[in-house]
Amino acid sequence: MKLEIGNFHVKDIVFGDSLSYSDGILTINKEEALDFIRQDKRITEAELYIVKPGDMVRLCPVKEAIEPRCRLDGKGLFPGYTSDLRQAGEGVLHALKDCSVIVVGRHWGGFQDGLIDMGGPGQKHTYFGELINIVLVGDTDEEFERYEQQKCNDALRRAGHKLAEYIGQCVKDLTPEDTDVYETEPLVKRSAEKNGRPGVVAVIQPQSQMETPGYNTLYYGWDMNRYLPSYMTVQEVLDGALISGSFMPTSSKWSTYDFQNFPILRRLIEEQGDEYNFLGVILANLNVAMDQKERNAQILTNIAVQLGADYALVTEEGYGNPDADYVLAISNLEKAGIKVVAVANESTGRDGGGSPLVTLDERIVAMVSTGNVGQLIELPPMPVVLGELEALGRDGNSGGWDYDEVLGPSVRPDGSVIMEDNGLFCGDQTVGWSFKTMKDF
């Protein structure tokens, strides 16, 4: 399977007469783009902004991030979601790099939404503080969930995916500045030499714990709550087969942008060389009931064994209850003789005194830790807020609160913020970007 991604490195984004890209400058006709967004009649309010690294701007409540792209065969970017089904992971994509489309609620947030600071001390807390972002701030007529803590955010999230696809069209006929090629051969067709090397497989566990449809990660449009582990390729992950959900405390979230760029999966392909034979991805999920967790751990381990894996990545999109699925996967793989290097964030609480994971197993012997969801973060006021900062305290955000007898409210009258890491948009960057680790004090 061969996927080519032609890159266009965006140096600046401006609003102008027509949607176009030239010499690193992406120009967007704002009104046309907004008209496109308003084609979904559920969108009642929409506005576009451009924010850059260093801008003293706070985004809240952030719901999703997507990389603008197009496919040269004219097919949809997100099969089974915003377009008809197609095989993902093959063909040629053009991608606008170093930028993203970010979706922000004009008023209403929820448990799963987050905060991004583009400048100041909060900038380092999200990957998106490093990117130039096209920010869609909107509201919808989704009355059924306006005051719900858990929101599907369906209209706004879809608007973000469609907008990313719409903007990406401007580089369809241009020549990329450079190209990344991700190519793998079918496992049993590989040379004896390759197949003689240690096998490495990637086990990824996206969030799928909401029993009601509409909140979970989608796999070719399929809600992953009713799902058993299966085999896929990195190329498919990078090419829109997975759509981020709207459920988990956001610092543990994998946005669609994260799936499109999944650094650890890309590096596993890039670095295989002489040392290992990369066997691809076992797409698992996260479950609620113990028998579901056990069944999935058993199935994913068996797939790994049958693929001939000697080593495995295991990583989860979440913490707390999902740790049970994560630890069980690690433990089962190690029991089967497959050595695991695991990646996750931890939840040791505000004082750092709690257990790193909800359950522990001595078979976890190699783990990269990417942050503590309970870490308290204080951020100064920002001159510009896109969205509604009150959402952080008011709407049940996982990292915010409206009242605390010691700490006071998350959102203070002067616009400064005290919150948990939990509420930073994709803050723990478990897909591989995180500059954070955990240390014992």
């Binding site: 050595k339 190699a366 783990m367 830790s369 004090f441």
Partner: protein, 346 residues
Amino acid sequence: MSKKAIVYINQFFGQLGGEDTADVAPSITEGQIGPAMAYNAQLNADVTHTIICGDNFMGSHTEEAVQIILDMLKDKEFDIFIAGPAFNAGRYGVACGTICKAVKEKYGVPVITSMNQENPGMEMFRKDVIIMKGGNIASKMRKDLAAVVKVANKMLAGEEIGAAAEEGYFPTGHRHQTFINERAVDRFMKMLHARIRGEDYVSEMIVPKLDRVPIAPAVKDLKHARIAMLNTGGIIPVDNPDRIQSASATRWGRYDISEMDALKGGEFKTIHAGFDPAAANENPNRIMPIDAMKVLLKEGVYGSLHPYFYTTVGTGTTEKEAARMAREIIPLLQEDQVDACILIST
């Protein structure tokens, strides 16, 4: 104005003698004695006083010793309190931990000590006090003392103390996120390559050694079995003769039940701080069911009952301490030819 430090040492390092003077009560001297002289030379503070206490006195009259020392400090100005280094001297290590914890709680100043990883005081106090990783014998004095000074000077300057591994102290049980210069993806690839090549690597999360004991097989001949009763629910005679702690216990006790049909409320109670004690205090048999065991004995369900029940408190108690207490209790059970135990937790 220069900062001030007060140093605590035992009778040996206080130059009062060895084991023969281990019973001496605390004393405070203006100026520096023994290691306090070296601290005075290296610290960014003046050591104004040296406190000396016999290890046995601190061990057997702990509350009294702590009170005397806290009183001695009442009218003193000091910016830091330092004890030890205690190396692998068990009583001294526990004394250093005890007094550092008490001084920190009472006066709110930074405290620091040093001891070897085998010192029982390490596990008892590492969560309360910064304990530098020290050598096992006194010949390591120069090195251990320098390590204490390095961190103590940071405390004096009001600087943040770094992670345990970097500063050289025993982890205090707190894990925090910290920013480093390497992305997770690079750390992941390094760890993967290391595992493939069989090279050393350091996991960013170390799972504590979990010592799981398999459940014993069922007793074959219950009718003739001798049974002993134990609990971690803190059931003790109301005067707590063994002074078992309410949490993070290091002590246990055993209590004669050969002459009673049941535990009576008012005579027994719980000292456990991890649950509402009302139900257990009203009827201690709810945790330690001596009443039911006596009835079953009369009915001939089992052979005989060991004449004592055993108690400690489970909450916050480390596995290491629990294992030590078990090693102390087991010979007593074996001596009395006990066939099976019922260990009740709460």
